[in-house]
């Protein structure tokens, strides 16, 4: 499914990843561990398409497509989603609005029509209940004033709703517990 081959990545002239290879097949769970600064977040950021990371050699393919040639949103639309270690705040934009815009963008990319509002609400409430989250959560601005734990739950909520083919969770438990 995901194929990373001999990946070399530099950030501001420093080589962070030095020839990493990784194969992830459907149904597998991979845990990537290492000390601070070993390049865990760099790997997920490069796969997601964050700028400022220079791939000097190597390749990344996802379901046979060359990921490095794809725009950030195309990668997400193809089913590659990243749950952020530090989710950003977007003042004035309601959580529910972001969720709906994201879901519809992905549906549009798949050639489907926009989700009808009642169906969307039903779906969101289902996922909220699963996460044991309060509905008031939807009306708050994206990540604004959220506690560290709330931000992480919000990331998981988005994953549940957007149903990626491959989810990358960057230090998903940091903020709720401290891990070395």
């Amino acid at each position: 499914m995901l194929e990373v081959k001999d990946l070399h990545v530099t950030v501001e002239g420093n080589e962070i990843l030095k020839g990493l290879s990784l194969t992830v097949n459907a149904g597998e769970v991979h845990a990537i561990m290492g000390p601070n600064g070993s390049g865990k977040s760099t790997l997920s950021a490069v796969i997601a398409g964050k700028e400022d990371y220079e791939v000097t050699s190597g390749s990344i393919t996802f379901e046979g497509r060359d990921v490095l040639e794809m725009e950030i949103e195309e990668r997400a639309q193809a089913g590659l989603l990243l749950a952020f270690q530090y989710p950003v705040e977007i003042p004035g934009v309601k959580n529910i609005y972001l969720l709906k815009a994201a879901l519809n963008a992905q549906r549009k990319a798949r050639g489907e029509s926009e989700i009808p509002a009642p169906e969307f609400m039903k779906l969101v409430k289902e996922k909220l209940a699963f996460m044991k989250m309060n509905a008031s959560f939807l009306q708050r601005a994206v990540n604004e004033g959220f506690s560290g734990g709330e931000k992480k739950r919000n990331e998981i909520l988005q994953m549940l709703l957007l149903e990626p083919k491959l989810a990358m969770l960057d230090e998903i438990d940091s903020g709720s517990t401290s891990m070395p």
Partner: protein, 480 residues
């Protein structure tokens, strides 16, 4: 100059006669007394009105164009401008949408403007498209039943001279500022609204419904009066891009609110901003002021400014009545080479007066934007309160945002709060949204609309929807 001398001067000039041919539809460039007399005659005005205009003209001659604004534009040649041109006749206008610039139509489409309205906006001879006369007639009947007067300012000068004499120039005097004096001398069009005591205007009033609104002149003058306990909501402008051959626009808006009256004035302004280098855009120098004369009166200004090459505009409130309230909600967007110096003045004179200012400025491209606001609390304005919030959002790294808040507090019982933020649409915010599958353009729109939410919710419903769409169109291609 003493009034008497002035009158003599006016009379003397008058007897010399006017050379301009009254039959022609435009006057040659230049401004002198004969041009003003020409305009006055074209509008079939009584002589007192001409006198009033000439007084303004003589004050203007002694004034200097203000230079304090954070704006940069080549000097305006006031003698190079033609001050009157008649509205185009139907046969001179495009006869169908096929004759209209396709790019303009594309924009209408993006804004979601209904087909029949597109034609009217593009200046197509309206009667060929839909029956505007009957719409207007029903509209007028309904207002007439309620006792509301809504007509052009020229019509009001002829039909309601007593109201005009009583109120015009009492909020913005002829010699208030350079542009106001110019407008007072040469204004050619605008609206007049009078809502009698105790009446709530049965519908939102919009210039759109006024015949000839599509050909509003470059020197508009609007006067709205709400008597005791009267209420009106007035919508100015439209979201569609408006082109005009006249580069200089200097409008005046005067609002008078008597006891317990409420005036809500909403503007969506989208004048042509010029090409990529800023050439050909409209210069918009506007004086808008409300006089909250009566106790507990309230005026609310809401504006969405996206157009013009140059914007110079400070809708203000004189809070004279006890416990009167002034509000200012503004979103100003600049892109390309646009420059805007805009804000508000809240002058607290009466006891217990309250004002709220929420200003959101968005600068993209090479544009430059300033918020300039004055909160003045007089010595008798006991317990006056002001809350100001002004936020700037920068897009890209070539745009500028400036804030010039002035506060003059004249007594110690007043409460004045000021909050300001400047932020940049962060790469991180964009990355976050795009990593959820949202395109960069949609992400920018989402972030910007979130930023403007506090102001948009003050707009009348249908205006709010259009305003959001307008912002998206204005910022097209701002990132990337």
């Amino acid at each position: 100059m003493a009034t008497e001398e002035m009158e003599q001067l006016v009379r003397r000039e008058y007897t010399q006669g006017f050379v301009t041919d009254i039959e022609s539809d435009t006057v040659p460039p230049g401004l002198d007394e004969s041009v003003i007399a020409f305009i006055s005659k074209k509008k079939e005005e009584p002589e007192w009105m001409l006198k009033w205009r000439l007084e303004a003209y003589h004050q203007w001659l002694k004034m200097k164009e203000p230079s304090w604004a954070h704006l940069n534009y080549p000097p305006i040649d006031y003698q190079g401008i033609s001050y009157y041109s008649a509205p185009k006749k139907p046969e001179d206008r495009p006869q169908s949408l096929d004759e209209v610039d396709p790019k303009l139509l594309e924009t209408y489409e993006k804004l979601g403007i209904p087909l029949h309205e597109r034609a009217a906006l593009a200046g197509v001879a309206v009667d060929a498209v839909f029956d505007s006369v009957s719409v207007t007639t029903t509209f007028k009947e309904k207002l007439g039943e309620a006792g509301v007067i809504f007509c052009s300012i020229s019509e009001a000068i002829r039909e309601y001279p007593e109201l005009i004499k009583k109120y015009m120039g009492t909020v913005v005097p002829q010699g208030d500022n350079f542009f106001a004096a110019l407008n007072s001398a040469v204004f050619t069009d605008g609206s007049f609204v009078f809502v009698p005591e105790g009446v709530t205007c049965p519908m939102e009033l919009s210039t759109y419904f006024r015949i000839n609104a599509a050909n509003t002149g470059q020197f508009e003058r609007t006067l709205i009066i709400c008597e005791k306990q009267a209420q009106v909501s007035y919508l100015e402008g439209c979201t569609a891009p408006q082109r005009d051959e006249n580069q200089l626009h200097a409008a005046i808006v005067e609002l008078v609110a008597l006891e317990d009256a409420y005036i809500k004035y909403s503007t969506v302004q989208n004048w042509y901003p010029g090409d990529e280098d800023g050439k050909g855009g409209i210069y918009n120098f506007v004086t808008k002021r409300a006089d909250c004369r009566g106790d507990r009166s309230k005026v609310s200004w809401t504006q969405v400014e996206t157009g013009s090459a140059i914007t110079w505009k400070y809708p203000s409130c004189l809070l004279r009545g006890k416990d009167s309230v002034g509000e200012f909600y503004s979103v100003a967007v600049t892109n390309g080479r646009q420059q805007a110096d805009t804000g508000t003045k809240m002058i607290h004179i009466g006891e217990g007066t309250k004002s709220t200012i929420v200003s959101k400025g968005i600068s993209a491209g090479n544009s430059d934007q300033s918020y300039r606001g004055l909160v003045k609390i007089g010595p008798r304005a006991k317990r006056a309160r002001n809350f100001t919030q002004c936020d700037s959002l920068l897009i890209g790294d070539r745009s500028g945002a400036h804030t010039f808040p002035y506060q003059e507090i004249g007594n110690s019982s007043a409460t004045v709060e000021h909050e300001a933020t400047t932020s940049k649409i962060g790469e991180d915010q964009l990355f976050y949204c795009r990593q959820r599958g949202i395109s960069e353009e949609d992400a920018v729109n989402m972030i910007v609309n979130g930023f403007c939410k506090d102001v948009f919710q003050e707009l009348p419903m249908e205006f709010a929807v259009e305003a959001e769409a307008l912002l998206n169109v204005t910022l097209e291609g701002a990132v990337g």
